[in-house]
């Protein structure tokens, strides 16, 4: 079989039949282009919403409600769970505050103290403070103090002891300032050791690291934490974690509801897309099938001349299938152009945040669309064109 010859003949016949060919192409474009826009919208919208959720670690946070009594071992075990990205014990919130000031200014700011360690999702790319006298400053606190990375701060920790107000001071160096998106209130992110030291001081115990006097800690006294900071590894891990804590009779607060909403939006949009896509594709396949059937009837004489000249059955079938493929390729190209225009328009209309899309497709989506369109066209044309096998050369040649 001379494939190149059949390709060239099919193309020349296709061109000579330009008006009918254009109709076939338009019929396919009418199916493919809206499907691309619909899928692009679904993919872009859901993708952007999901990404927004994934970018915000607060969505993955699981917060224990009410006071608990957790050992360091229990929290360590939580941190080792595969569905947990980060878990760290918190000291009592009332004991975790500090009064900060720059040595050069009188401005004092009262901040929360939040424990941090390597892997803290709130920190992003910023390295955590691992030493006792190093801290990260939230942006609002940094602005109020006028502090920047590298500055040394004076920190005062106050307590009411035996009815008298007392305070201890130390110096802390700012290693970084966290952006506003990471944390919105006045705070320092410090090592657990610093928080434990401050809690000890407020409880009247001695703190050796700073040389603060007080009661000697008991030999086998295990520290009890009232809370912890915990982040699920993925969005999908939040709901199972909530169930896990519920089983432990531990009340937690999560954003599982928000995540479920996006997931159900994605699921429902997918369902709508596939229902429409199935109907449209069935219609398109029927149209290609009918047009191949009609083409074989219409071109009976020309096809029987080719048969007379000695073209094989396969070559004639290829002739019909190739013409459907030409329509398919043209329709896909036109649809891509139309989708491109629609994508620009939609993104212009609906996108507020740079990097997010209302409508978006990946290269592999284009490839799948192309292959699916060509595959369906070829299959439908082969089914419709199968009648060429039954064309007898003698029946059509009389009146050519």
């Amino acid at each position: 079989m001379r494939i190149a010859l059949v390709m060239s003949l099919a193309w020349q016949d296709y061109r000579a039949d330009a008006r009918l060919s254009a109709c076939t192409v338009l019929a396919l474009v009418a199916v493919i282009a809206p499907l691309l826009v619909l899928f692009g919208l679904k993919f872009g919208l859901v993708g952007s919403l999901t990404e927004r959720l994934e970018r915000d670690p607060a969505v993955r946070e699981v917060i224990p409600m009410g006071g608990g009594r957790f050992s360091a071992g229990f929290i360590d075990e939580l941190a080792r769970r595969p569905d947990v990205a980060f878990a760290l014990p918190r000291t009592r919130q009332i004991a975790a505050t500090a009064d900060l000031s720059l040595p050069t200014s009188d401005q004092t700011v009262n901040v929360e103290m939040i424990p941090t360690a390597v892997g803290d999702p709130l920190l992003g790319d910023t390295l955590p403070a691992t030493e006792l006298d190093r801290v990260l400053l939230s942006q609002t606190a940094a602005e109020k103090l006028g502090a920047k990375p590298g500055d040394w701060l004076d920190a005062a920790f106050t307590r009411q002891f035996s009815g008298r107000a007392q305070a201890q001071r130390t110096r802390l160096q700012v290693t970084a300032v966290l952006p506003l998106e990471a944390f919105g209130r006045d705070a320092i992110f410090a090592s657990t050791e610093l928080l434990e030291a401050v809690e000890d001081y407020r409880d009247g115990r001695a703190v050796d690291a700073f040389g603060w006097p007080g009661d000697a800690p008991g030999a086998n006294e295990q520290r009890v934490f009232p809370a912890f900071r915990l982040y699920a590894r993925n969005l999908d891990d939040v709901e199972p974690l909530r169930l896990y804590f519920a089983e432990q009779h531990l009340l937690v607060s999560t954003r599982a509801q928000t995540i479920a909403q996006v997931k159900s939006l994605s699921r429902n949009l997918s369902l709508v897309f596939w229902v429409i896509a199935t109907l449209a594709v069935v219609g398109a396949v029927a149209a290609v099938f009918a047009s191949a059937l009609a083409a074989v009837e219409r071109k009976r004489r020309e096809l029987s001349v080719l048969r007379l000249l000695g073209f094989s059955t396969g070559a004639l079938l290829l002739f019909v299938v190739l013409q459907a493929l030409y329509s398919g390729v043209l329709a896909v190209v036109i649809s891509f152009v139309l989708y491109g225009l629609a994508e620009r328009g939609l993104n212009l209309l609906f996108v507020q945040v740079p990097g997010e899309y209302a409508s978006h497709l990946l290269i592999r989506h284009y490839c799948v669309a192309l292959l699916a369109a060509l595959g369906a066209s070829a299959l439908a044309a082969a089914l419709g064109g199968w009648r060429v096998a039954r064309i007898e050369a003698s029946e059509g040649i009389r009146d050519v």
Binding site: L5, Q12, A393
Partner: protein, 238 residues
């Protein structure tokens, strides 16, 4: 090259029945035959049988002798080996159809060159040479619709000869032409056939033209049978 014994073909039933019987026909290189007889007597049916596009319903012998040996054409039809028949047609046979049978979407050059392309033969100037000899050289770039009936007939002749077939079949190639042009086209065609050393069978209702062109005439005789059907029998040459 073709050897037929007791080959039959029947179409229709009852009073609509038409049967063609070929008791004996041997075609050899260099033979130039004319099939003559009234229209409707089955000249085209016989040509289609010879062109391997119509299946015989019974045959004592229907052999095609090619370089590789005998090919049992009746057997190929029986086994529905369409692609083998197509291959034989493309290599051995050139067929000039009554109405030209040109492909409207190809220009004259591509129409004439198509049988060569199908066989993968190189472009050695044959197309231009044939077009010049059949006086359609000026029309090479045109589509068939732009040609006169006579020009189309000559293009069709050129196409049938382009791949040097052993057997050239022509169905009323000059029917649409005035007598003067008819003789000229016939002579151009036969000149090429002679030069290529091929055998040709030309169906025509014009016996005088066939005689004038120097063709050996074979008659088809029609007989009305008792059931109302018609049986046409090819004259036995012996």
């Amino acid at each position: 090259m073709l050897s037929l014994r007791e080959v039959r073909k029947t179409r229709g039933e009852g009073s609509q029945r038409y049967s063609l019987v070929i008791p004996r026909l041997d075609l050899a290189a260099g033979r130039q035959l004319a099939l003559v007889g009234p229209s409707g007597c089955g000249k085209s049916t016989l040509l289609d049988l010879l062109a391997l596009v119509l299946s015989p319903e019974a045959a004592q012998r229907f052999d095609f002798v090619v370089d590789e040996g005998h090919v049992d054409v009746a057997g190929l039809w029986r086994d529905a080996r369409q692609n083998r028949l197509a291959q034989l047609r493309s290599r051995q046979i050139g067929y000039v159809l009554q109405t030209g049978g040109l492909l409207g979407y190809l220009d004259v050059r591509s129409n004439i060159g198509l049988p060569r392309k199908l066989l993968g033969m190189s472009d050695d100037g044959t197309v231009e040479r044939l077009a010049a000899q059949l006086e359609v050289a000026e029309q090479l770039g045109k589509k068939p619709q732009a040609l006169s009936v006579g020009q189309r007939q000559r293009v069709s002749c050129a196409r049938a000869l382009a791949h040097n077939p052993q057997l050239l079949l022509a169905d009323e190639p000059t029917a649409a032409l005035d007598p003067l042009n008819a003789l000229r086209v016939m002579q151009l065609l036969l000149g090429r056939v002679r030069a290529q050393g091929a055998c040709c069978v030309i169906a025509t209702h014009d016996e005088s033209l066939a005689r004038e062109a120097g063709l050996h005439s074979l008659r088809i005789a029609c007989v009305q049978d008792k059931d109302g059907g018609v049986t046409a029998t090819l004259e036995d040459e012996r």
